[in-house]
């Protein structure tokens, strides 16, 4: 029936195909995002609402240790923004969980698995597109922050480093989200399971309140929580109030701890997720 002659499949080294296929899947995910702008819109609205609620509801009630008491709520807003950044990018993982569960439920994963493509490209494409979306989310949040009085004090390079750390963290949790998503029987479960663990993760940290007020056990958890590290690193890099910094190693070396813990998380969960993807059948 066809006139086009049968083609030769192109030859490339394995790693080259992983990049190529990962790029194709990333592109597909991003196109899909633009076709349902509602989803993107509400994923932007949610953190903006958080900023407004925390800045104007909790703001005056939470004193920041070390900040000028006269600054009051204004200091809290500067303190708050890196916390919101950290919390928001953590929620990128929920998108990975739901996205993968949806692809499995709709049979698209079956299609991918029947193709001679690099298997893990589906996961690399998923995490890459979910992180790229966070670039837009961070941009919108930053503008919101500027409106409520947050400022970048330490110059361009430090600010870029802060944003890169946030994206690295988003990439790490996105792999955790993938691994969870591959275990989900359907999208409804994924919607819940993708979110529940994120609340303790982001609230057991210095994102919204200084560590000083927490009971000792909780404080220790929060000190070692990568969220606290990435948020503290951003506060330092942006030149925002840091609040109380404890003697714990992650608090003393937030940048190194962020890079190290994210690297470890990516290594562990990418391995687990790729293995699960290959097995799942």
């Amino acid at each position: 029936m066809a006139t086009t002659p049968a083609p030769e499949q192109m030859k490339r080294p394995m790693f080259g195909w992983l990049l190529h296929d990962g790029f194709v899947v990333t592109q597909r995910n991003l196109i899909a995002t633009t076709r349902v702008p509602e989803v993107l819109f509400f994923s932007l609205v949610q953190p903006v609402i958080f900023v407004l609620l925390f800045a104007y509801v909790f703001g005056g009630a939470i004193p920041i240790p070390g900040a000028d008491p006269a600054a009051g709520a204004a200091a809290y807003r500067e303190y708050l923004m890196p916390g919101i950044f950290g919390q928001t990018v953590a929620f990128a993982s929920a998108a990975s969980t739901v996205g993968l569960a949806e692809d499995m439920q709709k049979g698209i994963i079956d299609r991918f698995r029947s193709l001679p493509m690099a298997a893990s490209a589906v996961l690399f494409g998923r995490t890459a597109s979910d992180v790229l979306r966070q670039v837009l989310v961070l941009a919108v949040l930053s503008v919101t922050g500027l409106i409520v009085g947050w400022r970048i004090h330490n110059g361009f390079i430090d600010a870029v480093c802060a944003y890169l750390l946030l994206l690295l963290f988003a990439y790490a949790v996105s792999w955790i989200g993938c691994w969870i998503g591959l275990h989900m029987p359907n999208t409804e479960t994924a919607n819940t399971a993708g979110l529940v663990w994120l609340f303790p993760l982001t609230f057991l940290s210095n994102a919204f309140v200084p560590l000083t007020g927490m009971p000792p056990v909780v404080q220790t958890i929060a000190e070692w929580n990568p969220v606290s590290a990435v948020v503290l690193a951003c506060r330092e890099l942006f030149g925002n109030p840091t609040g109380y910094i404890s003697d714990a190693w992650p608090q003393q070396h937030p940048i190194a701890y962020t890079v190290g813990s994210c690297g470890l998380l990516i290594l562990i969960f990418a391995t687990l997720a790729v293995r699960k993807y290959r097995q799942s059948a």
Binding site: M1, A2, T3, T4, A6, P7, E8, Q9, M10, R12, W17, H20, D21, V24, Q27, R28, I31, A32, R35, V36, M104, Q105, K106, G107, I108, D110, R111, F112, R113, S114, L115, P116, M117, P185, N186, A281
Partner: protein, 340 residues
């Protein structure tokens, strides 16, 4: 794509076994499909059709047994198998947010085909499957029939020599089904080997040259449609009993004339009996029913259909079972962990 050895068989399965927990979905299945044929895998829901296809298309590993596609072992070299085959599953495995064209070009690129070829081939397939006008519309605006055709196009983008179609017309309206049948017939004329699963006996009858009937995970009969019908033997006498008459009286009267078991459907008031003796049996049947005081709405004599084949082979009708094991507890596309 790779040119398979025309002397060999396109698909071979030997003693395939696959369990899901306690359920034996596939239980010692053997299959041989020569190149260039359309092969029908027929059976009710839960018979093991989908599991078999998933093993042959490298989506599932068998617990034991061996299978080759185009001579390539599906467990040892899944990537090479994926290069020579196409799969259209039971549910449309396409992205509904992407347009038809974007879907095809994505699949083409993931087949690692040259860019120019993918472009040309996509346009050709969209034209061929009457989707050209809808090429730039997101798939979520497509009808069920259009989705299936696009799904099939996606499987064909790399011109696979072997194509697996898992219940390609399930859930389609009669017109879309007819269209799918035409498309599949064209493919075969083109020399593609097709393994088709279906629970529609009519579909297997119409499309497949050779049919394998499976039930509970293994093959219970095989042959051409005619061979299977001959295997069942004789003609079928079909009687519809008037609502004022007693069904049991009627079946007792007919049992005396039948060669085998008489089947009775109380809802449609239809009695089917295997008979021999040509048209004289009709006269005898009318007389016997008259004596029994039964009045008729309809009486006919016909060649056995694949339904009859199924009934005589398994002791139950194909559709009965289909209704019993009505699937989906887990929503679209994830029936994979169920019995089938």
């Amino acid at each position: 794509m790779n040119t398979p050895n025309p002397a060999g068989n396109a698909i071979v399965a030997e003693q395939l076994v696959k369990h899901f927990g306690d359920v034996k979905a596939v239980d010692g299945l053997d299959l041989t499909v020569p190149f260039g044929t359309v092969f029908g895998l027929l059976g009710p829901n839960g018979a093991g059709k989908t599991t078999t296809v998933r093993i042959l298309t490298t989506l599932l590993r068998p617990d034991s047994g061996r299978a080759t596609v185009a001579g390539i072992d599906v467990v040892k070299h899944p990537d090479e198998v994926r290069r020579v085959m196409g799969l259209t599953g039971q549910y449309s495995a396409i992205d509904e947010y992407l347009t038809g064209l974007e879907n095809l070009s994505m699949v083409g690129r993931l087949y690692h085909l040259p860019h120019g070829y993918v472009k040309e081939r996509s346009a050709e397939l969209l034209e061929r499957f009457s989707l050209a006008d809808a090429a730039d519309r997101p798939v979520r605006t497509y009808s069920g029939g259009m989705r299936r055709r696009l799904d099939l196009s996606a499987s064909l983008i790399g011109r696979p020599s072997i194509l697996f179609l898992d219940e390609p017309t399930t859930g389609l309206d009669p017109r879309s089904r007819q269209q799918m049948w035409e498309v599949i017939s064209d493919l075969v004329a083109d020399g593609t080997t097709v393994l088709l699963t279906t629970q529609y006996l009519e579909e297997a009858d119409q499309l497949a040259e050779k049919i394998v009937v499976i039930d509970r995970g293994h093959v219970i009969a095989q042959g051409t449609s005619d061979e299977l019908k001959t295997q069942v033997g004789g003609d079928r006498l079909e009687v519809v009993i008037h609502s004022g008459s007693n069904l049991d009286d009627a079946s007792t009267a007919l049992r005396a004339l039948a060669d085998g078991d008489v089947s009775l459907d109380a809802v449609t008031r239809r009695i089917t009996a295997p008979v021999s003796g040509g048209s004289t049996i009709l006269v005898e049947a009318v007389r016997a029913l008259d004596v029994a005081g039964v009045s008729l709405d309809d009486i006919s004599l016909r060649r056995p259909t694949l339904d009859d084949v199924f009934l005589s082979l398994t002791g139950h009708a194909a559709e009965e079972v289909a209704a019993d094991s009505a699937k989906p507890t887990r929503g679209r596309g994830r029936a994979r962990k169920g019995a089938e």
